[in-house]
Assembly symmetry: C2
Homo-oligomer: 347 residues x 2
Amino acid sequence: MADKETAKRSRRSSGAITLRDVAKLAGVAPITASRALNTPDQVSEVVLKKVKEAVERTGYVPNRLAGGLASARSRLIAAIVPSTVISVFNETIEALNGTLFDAGYQLMLGQSGYSPARAEMLLEAVIGRRPDGIFITGILPPGKARTRLLASGIPVVETWDLTPTPIDMLVGFSHSQIGHDVAQFFSKKGCRHLAIVRAEDERADRRTRAFIEAAATYGLGGVHVENVGALRTLRSGRQALANVLAAKPQVDAVFCSSDLLAMGVLTEARVRHISVPEQLSVMGFGDVPFVADMVPALSTVRINGAQIGQIAARNLMDRAEGRGVAQPMVDVGFSIIERDSTAQGKP
Amino acid sequence: MADKETAKRSRRSSGAITLRDVAKLAGVAPITASRALNTPDQVSEVVLKKVKEAVERTGYVPNRLAGGLASARSRLIAAIVPSTVISVFNETIEALNGTLFDAGYQLMLGQSGYSPARAEMLLEAVIGRRPDGIFITGILPPGKARTRLLASGIPVVETWDLTPTPIDMLVGFSHSQIGHDVAQFFSKKGCRHLAIVRAEDERADRRTRAFIEAAATYGLGGVHVENVGALRTLRSGRQALANVLAAKPQVDAVFCSSDLLAMGVLTEARVRHISVPEQLSVMGFGDVPFVADMVPALSTVRINGAQIGQIAARNLMDRAEGRGVAQPMVDVGFSIIERDSTAQGKP
DNA sequence: TTGAAAGCGCTAACAA
DNA sequence: TTGTTAGCGCTTTCAA
């Protein structure tokens, strides 16, 4: 019992340097070392210096698993993203991650878009890590997952959409408004024969419906809708234009549900010697970085994805740290970027 | 002391359902409940059923922070990826995440590509979570980070490259070989005036050097190299071709260090009425999903990114679970995909 | 400002 | 097969 201090490491220990080791080296109690690292103001200059030296010398890296368990704050944020590879969400995730990292949080990734069974597993896995917040791309529909998330009490931010009944917080924009505004845009440009090329997706659905409704109010009925299914590739965009032309040869404007589909449409138009925008106007969605420099430059609907990521990160951290959230529901809006692929003015 | 069982929850408790609650409900000891969940074979049918029912009734989700702390196995894998938005690594990350998830692991994301100071912080943050493994895109150059990682004892897999001195495990391919093979390819196709359009990147560097060397052995000296710097956008590809043409008007083949740059080159060629592949052969790198369906379809170097992700995941898990790693160093190779953007045969 | 004690929720080790 | 005990490494609580 004389050598409590020098007692050999228990069999269970991982062998890594712990806060105890650092404290011992600095000649203080573990809790004092902890304070020196987490709340330096609560500690004298002398102690602070000794602890910092000890950390430097030992190469100590705090075990966040232990810290999270003790403090019930994991400093982990989970993001649930769809599995699409080239995704319009990339920019958002990058901003989310950057903002979180700067504040000392880590991002955990979960990919959705699989079977309901896997979705349930994903949620279990995520909640099991006790994240301080959960970021969701899209809106979680009512169901088991939603109930469960609500029950977990973990702050949640839903994004890229609007709903009057969010689980918790919301940073998005109105897909209906986009459908409406694009139809109006085409109408003003003098387009008379509209079509939509879209992927199978609930949000694209709402844009489509609003587009058709708005078109009707501008006297443009009979919008042709081409649904490419789950595959939102360039190839399906090409095929889609072929189908549109077969069904409605007089088409003079196409609104696509992604930039990639729009690229496909542009490609097919070029192959068929249909001049854009003289004979056909094409509008994309997403404003992926490179579409501005294509020829013709793609007109598209731009979402400020980075802004969504930043605001979502701030909101989650505000809630996690017990602060009030300034704006739990934010509409970041969108803008129609007019480039070369849409008609240049009234005829 | 009569009501040890009914003692009210301590002030520190988070209030969530714990394994204790489940065990109590099932009428067994916590450790038995733990075994029912983690190693069901070690438990009788009766107990298993009772525990499962208790879990169902309470909505219990195990706290992986506590589990990780107790078992020194976090079931967390960290991936360090560059911050590039549209990235050729996406496919790898998706496969990595998918494979890990199926085995009960979670993926944590860290973005590199910032300042050395941030890189150091990133590493601290990652090690602090005590991941069971670390996935790195690229090869970590010798330095503080490398030393630190080595000292941490955490299994590491480096990817997308080869080196005789990996930190630990390796899943990649030879960039020099690619440079060589593409030069050979162009030579065989009868191209005589080669150029390279490349981003600032150490791996592109090696492809470039090998390309130039190989070209020389085929009697094709004077390869023009256009370095677009850090910006690997479509626009810089366009500008790059303009520069190449100004410096070497007779150019008849360009090897680009990414598909996006190649798309820029194709675009600029089209604008200038340079026919591809008749007057100019263009080769990309990466085989991003949509380049196959462009017109002309892009010839490119294909890397099986998903395979890299899968193998890396398996290797990390094998090591984490104390199994031997079948192949700690894997060369997954590459293939040159010949499509429409390169010369169709000897003249 | 500093420290002792007591957990956070779970599992390894050992015992029955 | 089941249970008891004793931590994992940290931070909260309370006291000095």
